[in-house]
Symmetry: C2
Subunit: 343 residues, 2 copies
DNA sequence: GTTAGCACTCAGGGGCAATGAGTGCTAACC
DNA sequence: GGTTAGCACTCATTGCCCCTGAGTGCTAAC
């Protein structure tokens, strides 16, 4: 793949991303200064098609990039788009004006990303179960029930009503809490060692109370599942993209977007990989093989927190999406640090 | 409006709901046994159009019901559809299989409703601020912060990290909690009387501590805002309705559905009115004046809890939607009672 | 190796007629 | 007087044809 082929590929990808129309040799010759005639470009394009970087709907339509073509473009040809200071200022302003409570951060982040990129934004909120046990405490509710409050290092707090076994007093529960605290402090919630359970067993002699303790722990952990909430925004923005003029395709993508569990899986799969682009066919899930996803993971004090992503047609402004995610990343870590995340 | 006109109107509405095509006199004569010829039906239809119950796209197309026509149908002509025992069993089964945690109830309810009605389902989860203060307690976090846990009668539990003013000890905070509990017990969160605040003021002499107490209360209440979460399901189901073959219309409705705040307002507006149908033009919001909403409020022990709704094109199976909502209503009250709602 | 020229392809759009569902009106019927 | 058959008329939809224009692929000349 010589220099000139690369320049042609770059031209095709850029023009196609901009216009959403198959691009022809003539257009490229006119709009890019390659110093050769359309005929030459035609030859190059034919070669690029042979090599799998470009595609053809039918004879006599222009070329569009294949997944492989986009991949080459993203990896090598694309010039990194930087957000302008003005754009950054606008984002900061929006954030400041809109986000009053921590719960709003994620929804607003999604909204902002979708607004800027005109694509769907996905934000996976911090995962409670990845953070470390800090302490468990009980509050009395009535004579049959009490409230278990679980706190973790990342600042998550989770509560759950638990029934007290008949005969057990609130004091028993508080004693139980002390035992659990001793044994679990520092454990990551999704990886509590067997030894910890054994230790708790050995310290709580009463059978009923031990059962209750296990119940409390498992239910507290259970709850954390639902907490890695997914925020989604910009369905409508994306539908204004020309690729979604067809109702069938719209339905297809909406079907996909309603599968929250599936989306979470996809984001989880990319967790911890920094900034990453997955293009078209590279996606494992068939429903989005004509889409691309840009994901980024945000951290707090070195601790993995969550993922933000842009999902849109393969014809996407990759550079822009990537730099935006990078910027939002910092922002998000920052806001979470500042306001403190409480689950 | 004589008997026969009503039967014709009924026939038109039913056929149109079923077929989504404008219905003509001939079709009605064939499919409904009115005992008169198409010509007679034509005359009746012309009259019904005069009276505003039917509409015409252009000469020589069949009639479709107007909002007024649907209203008359819903209020008087519609025969109440009952869910079959089989359907009920299926719903029960789905519920049992899917709902493991209380948080899932609402999402699954939305999913189920949309699945059955092929329309968008909206579920407004219980409103914390409408329930009554039960107690406030503190848990120690570290030497500068503690966790405030607020519980209400409906079983909501809400927690918040609060900074302790320098000089204040955790014991001070516990004393403060006792005062607040004494003063606020039984107050509905969104209507705390001025007198209660005065009482707190008189019992807490320390200025800093009083400030902190107000802060705790206001922030606890603040949080409750975000808690009346809206669950939404079935966008895709609705889009398979023939009225949404047009991409423009799809975008319009999606724009609407992304405005969570607006949807909440709409549901709030119908709160406490039992089972209610709002048809087409009757909607205050322009964006959905070609849609209908069926809403129902669910209760627990006489206490208002939330709203569930079906949103779809005016051509909707009203009877079915209504009986389904009625059934889900019971179910929801029941599940919330059984599992206990924790916010 | 590059380019001009030319034949060929194919989607999209406009024009046009045929089709068919449906109305509205009038005159005949019971 | 209400009901109905008959008929002219309307209009959206469909299929068809043709044209246009953008674009390719090939060949021969530069």
């Amino acid at each position: 793949m010589d220099e000139r082929k690369q320049r042609v590929l770059q031209a095709v990808v850029q023009d196609y991303i901009e216009s959403a129309e198959p691009v022809g040799s003539r257009t490229i010759a006119r709009r890019h200064d390659l110093g050769v005639s359309p005929a030459t470009i035609r030859n190059e394009m034919a070669d690029l098609e042979m090599l799998g970087y470009l595609e053809h709907i039918h004879t006599s339509s222009g070329r569009i990039p294949s997944s492989k073509g986009y991949r080459f473009y993203v990896d090598g040809l694309m010039q990194p788009t930087r957000l302008t200071e003005e754009e950054k200022a606008q984002i900061d302003h929006w954030y400041r004006a809109r986000v009053k409570r921590i719960e709003e951060v994620f929804q607003e982040t999604a909204r902002l990303i979708s607004h800027v990129t005109k694509n769907v934004a996905l934000v996976l909120a911090p995962q409670m179960k990845k953070s470390a046990f800090r302490c468990l405490q009980f509050l009395p509710l009535d004579d049959r029930r009490s409230v278990a409050v679980l706190m973790t290092d990342a600042g998550f707090i989770e509560n759950r009503i638990v029934a007290m076994p008949s005969g057990a007093t609130f004091e028993d529960f508080q004693r139980m809490a002390r035992v659990i605290n001793d044994c679990l402090t520092g454990c990551t919630l999704d990886a509590i060692p067997k030894a910890a359970y054994r230790k708790i067993r050995s310290e709580i002699s009463d059978e009923n109370l031990y059962e209750a303790a296990l119940d409390v722990i498992s239910r507290a952990l259970d709850d954390t599942e639902g907490r890695d909430r997914l925020y989604l925004g910009g369905t409508r923005e994306m539908l204004s993209q020309p690729e979604f003029q067809d109702v069938e395709r719209v339905k297809e993508i909406l079907l996909m977007l309603e599968e929250e569990q599936l989306l979470k899986e996809i984001l989880h799969a990319h967790l911890g990989e920094g900034l990453r682009v997955t293009i078209g066919r590279e996606n494992d899930y068939k429903g989005i093989q004509d889409c691309s996803i840009v994901t980024a993971t945000y951290h707090l004090d070195g601790e993995l927190l969550g993922t933000i992503a842009v999902l849109g047609p393969t014809r996407m402004e990759y550079g822009r999406a990537m730099s935006l995610l990078g910027y939002m990343n910092e922002h998000l870590s920052d806001v979470v640090r500042r306001l403190g995340w409480q689950g």
